[in-house]
Amino acid sequence: MLNAERRPSVAERRSSFLSGSLQNSMNIPVVPHLAGIEDPLPETTPDKVDVLIAGTGMVESVLAAALAWQGSSVLHIDKNDYYGDTSATLTIDQISNWVNEVNSGTSSLSVCYTNAKLYISKSLRHSNTYVSRDFGIDLSPKILFAKSDLLSILVKSRVHQYLEFQSLSNFHTYENDSFEKLTNTKQEIFTDQNLSLMSKRNLMRFIKFVLVWDEQPEIWQQYAEKPISDFLVEKFKLENNQLYELIFSIGLCYNLDVKTPNALQRIRRYLTSFDVYGPFPVLYSKFGGPGELSQGFCRSAAVAGSTYKLNSQLLSFNPTTKEAVFKDGSKIKVEERVIVSPTQAPLDSKNIPKQEYEVHRLTCIVEKSCSEWFGEGESAAVVVFPPNSLKSNNRTVVQAFIVGSGTESCAKGTCIWYLSTVETGPRAELDLDAALEALERSIIRESSTDLENENDLIQLGPNGQTIINSVKLGQSFKEYIPREKVQFLLKLYYTQFTSTPPFDVVTPSVFEFSKEWPKDSSLLVPGASDNNIVYTSMPCAEISYDDVITAAKVLYEKIVGSDDDFFDVDFEDEDIPTYQNNGDVQYQNTFEEDDEEDEARDMDIVENEEPMGEMEI
C-alpha cells in the first residue's frame, strides 16, 4: 500500500518520467542511462543521508540497493577494506588477518565468531605455485535455488549481469561409508534398479503431493507438530533410504525430528527448482558466493546513487541529534535509520541482540581437483552426512559444499571443502573432523591412480593386451589402505554465532523497533554508543540464500513503511533493445515471476507424467 509518507521512487523523480509521454511520442531511441554519471560530487562525506548502513554483508547490501532504487539516500560503509563483511569472500592473506582479529578479542568480531583456528601449509605459504588471491574463501558459503526469491531479484535488479553462475546437480548422501548420488530426477527414480515397484509408486505419490502440499492441509495437519519422518513413513510408507534422501539431501534438513511443514517446504523448494534452467536444482556464483553477490548489490546501489566508503568505522550514534560519528572524525546526520551488522557495532555498544545459536564451520583447501564428485561440465557438489553416518555418531547432519577450480574460487588442481553443522559445543568439532576424514577417504579411493599402475593388478598379455586381475582388484579395494594422503593447503575452523535459530530464516523480533524516534529517553541505554541502532542478523546456518531477501524485506518495510516497492525498478530500456547485433539483446527479462502460474506448471509436470504407465510393466 502506498502511504502518503512514501517518497517518490528514483524512477518517478527522473525528468524523463515527468516528461515521459512527450519523449515517447517523439520516438527518441532509448539508450540505457549511464551508471554513475558524475554530478559534481562533494569531496567529503555528504552531511546528511536518509539511511546509514554499516557492513556490506549480503542482507545489508540487498537492503542498500533496494533503498537506493526506492529513492532513499544511503551511505553504506564497512570498517574493512573489502566488501562482504559476514558474507565476504576472502583471499588467503585476508583470511589470516580475519582470524587474528577474531582471536584478538578486542573487536566486535569476537562477539560474532570464536574459536578460529587456522592452518596454512608451508607449500601454500611459501609457494611459487599459488598466490593469495588465487583463492576466494567464503565466510558463509551458500547455494542458490533456481526458483527462489533471491534469484528473481537478481534478474529484476540486473545484478545478475555482474555475476557468472554455474549449475550444481550432484547431491551426494553419505551412507555406509560411501557416497550415494541422489536419484533426483523422475527418470532416475523409474530406472533405479534398487527400488521396488511399490517404492517407486509411493515415492511418486509423495512427490506429486509435496508440490502442492500447502493446498492439502488435510493430509498433513495432524503431523504439523510431529517429525517429518513419522509423516513420510505413516502416510506414504517410504523406506529408510528414501527418507534420508528426501529429508537430508533434497530437504537439506539437520535431523529426523524436523517438523513436517518445515521439511515439506524445503523438499518442495528443491523439486520446483529442478529444470528451471536445466536438469539441476541449484546454482552458485563464480569467484565466490555471497561475497560476490554482496559486491553486485553494492554496485547496484552505487549506480542508484548510494555512497560507498570502505575502511570506515562507526564510532557512535546519537539518537537525539541524529548524528553519527566515524573513526576518521567525520560526522553525518541520519534522517531515518542506522542499520548495523553486529560485526560492525561501535565500541561501547550495549544493544547488540544476543547471538545465541552456533554454527560450526570447517573450511579446507585440498590439493586435489575432486572432479570425481562433480557432474559433467560442473565444478561443485553438495555432500550430506546424515545423523549417525559418521564415526563420531553424529546426532546432527554435517553438510559439505565442495567447490572446484572451475568456479575460479581456487587455483587449478585444488578444491575447497566447506563443512558445517549446527551441532553445539565440542561435539561439533568432532563431527566436522569425522566428516572431513570421510571426505578424505572417499576422494583418495575415487581418484587413486595407484591401483591402475600397480604391476600385480594390471598385467600385459603376450600380445601386449592388458589383463586385469579382477579378484585381486576386488580385494584390493576392500582392504585398500590409502598410501596417498590428501594434501591440505589450508584448514580453518571457526564457530559463528547467529540470532537466527536453525530453520527459521529470520527472526523478525530482532528487527522490532518503533518507527518514531523515541521521545522517552529512558528507553535509551545510558552510556551506550549504539542507542536506536537497528542490528541485522548474522548469517544463519542455512546453506541456501533463502533467508536473505526475507530479512532485507523486513528491514526495508520497517524503514520505508511498506515493502510494495521493494526493487520496483523500471529501467528506461526495458522494452527496447539497445543494439541488435546478432540478435544479441541484452536486457530482456523473461524470468517467470508469477507464483500462481508456476505452481500450475509444476502441477502439470505431475499430471502429465508419462512414466506412471511404465511402472505398471
Binding site: V10, R14, V31, P32, H33, L34, A35, G36, I37, E38, D39, L41, Y83, A146, V155, R158, V159, H160, Y162, F165, S167, K186, D275, V276, Y277, G278, P279, L283, F287, Q295, C298, R299, A302, V303, G305, Y308, K309, L310, N311, S312, G377, E378, S379, F571, E572, D573, T578, Y579, N581, N582, Q586, Y587, N589, T590, F591, R601, D604, I605, N608, E609
Partner: protein, 208 residues
C-alpha cells in the same frame, strides 16, 4: 564478434562517463542529471583493417571511486581500462597515475590494455590559459609506462572514437597472438555458465 570488458577509472568529475556517453550515444549533454539504469553499457566498433567486429562492455565506476571503494568485481577480467584525467585540473594527472598503480595491482592480466586519456581539451581551445597539464608531459609519461595516450573532448567528440578504435586494435592483436599460442589446447573441461535471464524454454518433463 569479439567481446571485451573495459573499465573506466579516474577521479570524479574528470568526465569519465561523458566520454563513454559520447562514444555510445554520440551526443553530449552538459546538463544531464545524474542518471541511472543499465548495469553497464555496450557498444560495438568495426576495425577498418579487417572488418573485425568488437564489442565493448563498458563498466563505469558508479561513484564508488570517490572513497577508493571499488569492488574486486569491477576490475575482474577487465581487458582494457580507460584512465581519465582533466587537462584543466592540475593534480588530476597525478591521481590518474595512482589509479594506474591500483589497476596494475588489482588486475593480474599482463595483456591489459591501458589508455590514458586527458579530457576537456575543448576548454583549452577556447582559452589556453585554462590548460594545466601539457600534452607533452602526459604523453612522455604514458610512453614510459607503455600506455596508449590521447587527449579528447567528450563535449565536441574530438578523438573519442579514435580512443576506442585504438584500444580495439590493440585488443585484437593480443587476441590473435593468444589464439595462435593456444592452438590445440584442451578446452573440454571448461565449466559453462548459466544465463539467469533465460530459464529453460522447453521443460523436458512438462508437456508444453
Amino acid at each position: 564478434m569479439l567481446q571485451f570488458k573495459l573499465v573506466l577509472l579516474g577521479d570524479s568529475s574528470v568526465g569519465k562517463s561523458s566520454i563513454v556517453y559520447r562514444f555510445v550515444k554520440d551526443s553530449f549533454d552538459e546538463f544531464r542529471e545524474s542518471t541511472i539504469g543499465a548495469a553497464f553499457l555496450s557498444q560495438t566498433i568495426t576495425l577498418e583493417e579487417n572488418n573485425q567486429v568488437i564489442k565493448f562492455e563498458i563498466w563505469d565506476t558508479a561513484g564508488q571511486e570517490r572513497y577508493k571503494s571499488l569492488a574486486p568485481m569491477y576490475y575482474r577480467n577487465a581487458n582494457a581500462a580507460l584512465v581519465v584525467y582533466d587537462v584543466t585540473a592540475p593534480d588530476s594527472l597525478m591521481k590518474a597515475k595512482s589509479w594506474i598503480e591500483e589497476l596494475k595491482k588489482k588486475v593480474g592480466n599482463e595483456e591489459l590494455v591501458i589508455c590514458l586519456v586527458g579530457n576537456k581539451v575543448d576548454i583549452c581551445e577556447e582559452d589556453d590559459t585554462k590548460r594545466k597539464i601539457e600534452f607533452e608531459e602526459a604523453k612522455d609519461w604514458a610512453n614510459d609506462e607503455n600506455l596508449l595516450f590521447y587527449e579528447v573532448s567528450a563535449k565536441t567528440g574530438y578523438n573519442v572514437k579514435e580512443v576506442f578504435q585504438k584500444i580495439g586494435e590493440q585488443l585484437y592483436e593480443y587476441k590473435k597472438a593468444e589464439q595462435a599460442n593456444k592452438g590445440t589446447q584442451d578446452n573440454s573441461n571448461i565449466t559453462s555458465n548459466i544465463r539467469l535471464q533465460e530459464p529453460q524454454a522447453s521443460n523436458p518433463t512438462s508437456c508444453c
